[in-house]
Amino acid sequence: MNFEEHAAKTCILAAAGIATPQGRLCRTPAEAAAAVAAIGAAVVKAQVPAGKRGKAGGIRRADTAEEAETAAGAILGMAIAGHAVERVLVEARAAIAREFYAAVLPDVAGRCPMVLFSTEGGMEIEEVAAARPEAIRRRRVDIESGFAIADARAMLYGLGLGPDVDAAVAAVLVKLYDAYRRFDAELLEINPLALLADGRIVALDCKFVLDDAALYRQGEIAAAGAGERLTELEAKGAASGLKFIQLEGDVGVLANGAGLTMTTMDVIRHCGGRPANFLEIGGEAYTKSEAALGLVLANPGVKSLVVNFCGAFARTDVMAEGVVKAWEALKPKIPVFFSIHGTGEDQAVALVRERLGIEPYERMEDAVRAAVEAAR
């Protein structure tokens, strides 16, 4: 779950005790103008759960209330990475001496958290990594012993920040790591972390991604997250406990398990067709094939359908029963092509044959090819 900048700052950094600029969340140009009147020269920043807002024109400076009104007027209503901008964060500007980068993220190879710090703040860390890899300090953390001030000081050793800045940045890194742990972050990044002209260290931006699997124990902050922007059908899928992703193609897909579903989509593409959706009914969700088929068929672009079952844990007879029921109830006008194997196969094939009068294909590739041709 992504958090928009303002939520990451007000929930995570504030709780961590990491300073951020004075800011106000505004919905209208008039509110933005009032905010600048209250806090002075500011930046006006689009609030969307996506990066690269600056490049998209979603970040502008405003020295006066009038400029804020203009800036907010331009940004509100923009679309950035598919997200309509509904709110802007108006945030006080201050004189910046230097910009750093700080983050905590999982190190897959080390199977542990990793703290990152760079004196090259303000640009994409991938660009820094490509251009000046030596500018990035990395430190793997033993998750059981934690990350202490001494670890932070060791990371900063030799960067020549000076004792005051060293101490202040080390304190921020420790707080950042503690917040990463406390709030079950998948990613917690401050870029830039600014050293102000007056010596204070302030987080000018913040990216926080909450581990979806930890939501059950992070109920306190979950409501501040942006969630995924879902289409109406995707939300309906989520409401039925189904992971449904709506795509732009015309061949509907119903398969069990994430790997098999992706593969069905791939084979559709391989045969020259375009998949209309991803929809997983893996794990316990295999009992929900009736609702699942309803979703696939509600997608207006669908012209034909592939049902591809390969039962292991999931019983193909149970899944086929749901599909047949949904098919009889919805009476869709589109052709459907089956391939059924694994647990419960015989009963499942018999059911489809008798109730729908359809003969499943022996190979899923053949079922897919037929569906792709039918959609043309």
Partner: protein, 289 residues
């Protein structure tokens, strides 16, 4: 991580609906299940197998080599650490959706305890004709047949389809290693490929990969040095970027984890990468001596 019928297996959460169901299946397939754990039902039996209060109690009473977890996500870390501390050599973590920092803590405990982790979010391990640990249809003879092809898969359902295709083509399997759909696994594609490379019962290897992460690229580095032929299928060529495709590990961020990157790496290493699962047997046959 190739399971053998001599391995003593402990089932964590044995009395739950899935734990009980799959314990029956494992026993029926020849797996040497020596006990289960449920603190509330210690002293009872399940499918003729004794239930213990803890992995430590089970280790003391009957001894075990492999532990397999039918445990919900919120209790997974505690259960896993208990099994590791009781001396599990191999821990099969079936559980999906364990919080990532709990996964890190499991891995940290395993590193200290010298335990190999398979998973999280794996469908398990199958040695056809011998035994299996997990939730795979090892008992289904249309899918699994004893043979000499080793299969490594992130996905259970797709791994099943691939084994079905091999069996259909008359190619039996020496071992199926489900490594799991999570992003931070105890056993990587490379680890599993290396194990199959060392296994005298394996003549060829199939990699069933997915978009996301860098495991296929790492495995390619190893495969480049192998003598045994390797074929691969990577799922997710048609997946939209930036979205998790069911598996927490299956997500393309920018260039990272893309289909193209994986295919390029594997092909450079001499691996036969096919477009559909059905092409795997043909691709393998061409390379087998």
């Amino acid at each position: 991580m190739i399971v053998r019928k001599t391995d003593r297996v402990l089932v964590l959460g044995i009395t739950g609906r899935q734990g009980a169901f799959w314990t029956e299946k494992m026993l029926a397939c020849g797996t040497r299940v020596v006990g289960g754990v449920n603190p509330k039902k210690a002293g009872e039996t399940q499918s003729g197998v004794p239930v213990f209060a803890s992995p430590a109690a089970a280790q003391a009473a009957v001894g075990f080599d492999v532990a397999v977890m039918f445990i919900p996500p919120a209790a997974a870390r505690e259960a896993a650490v208990a099994a590791i501390e009781a001396g599990a050599k191999l821990l099969v973590v079936l559980t999906e959706h364990i919080p990532q920092q709990d996964v890190m803590r499991i891995h940290a405990a395993a590193a200290r305890g010298g335990t190999r982790i398979v998973g999280p979010n794996t469908a398990g391990l199958v040695t056809p004709g011998e035994c299996f640990v997990g939730i795979m249809p090892a008992f289904n003879e249309r899918v699994f047949r004893p043979g000499r092809v080793g299969v490594v898969s992130r996905s259970g359902s797709l791994g099943t389809l691939v084994c079905l295709e091999l069996t259909r083509a008359g190619l039996g399997q020496s071992a199926f290693i489900g490594i799991g759909g999570d992003p931070m696994l105890g056993t990587t594609t490379r680890d599993a490929v290396a194990a199959l490379d060392r296994d005298p019962g394996t003549d060829a290897v199939v990699i069933v990969g997915e978009i996301g992460g860098a495991m296929e690229e790492e495995a390619a580095e190893y495969a480049a040095l192998m003598k045994k032929p390797v074929a691969a299928f990577i799922a997710g060529a048609a997946a939209p970027p930036g979205r998790k495709m069911g598996h927490a590990g299956a997500i393309v961020m920018g260039d990272r984890g893309s289909y193209a990157s994986k295919r390029r790496a594997l092909e450079s290493a001499g691996v036969a990468v096919v477009d559909t699962p059905a092409e795997i047997p043909t691709a393998l046959r061409r390379r087998l001596p």
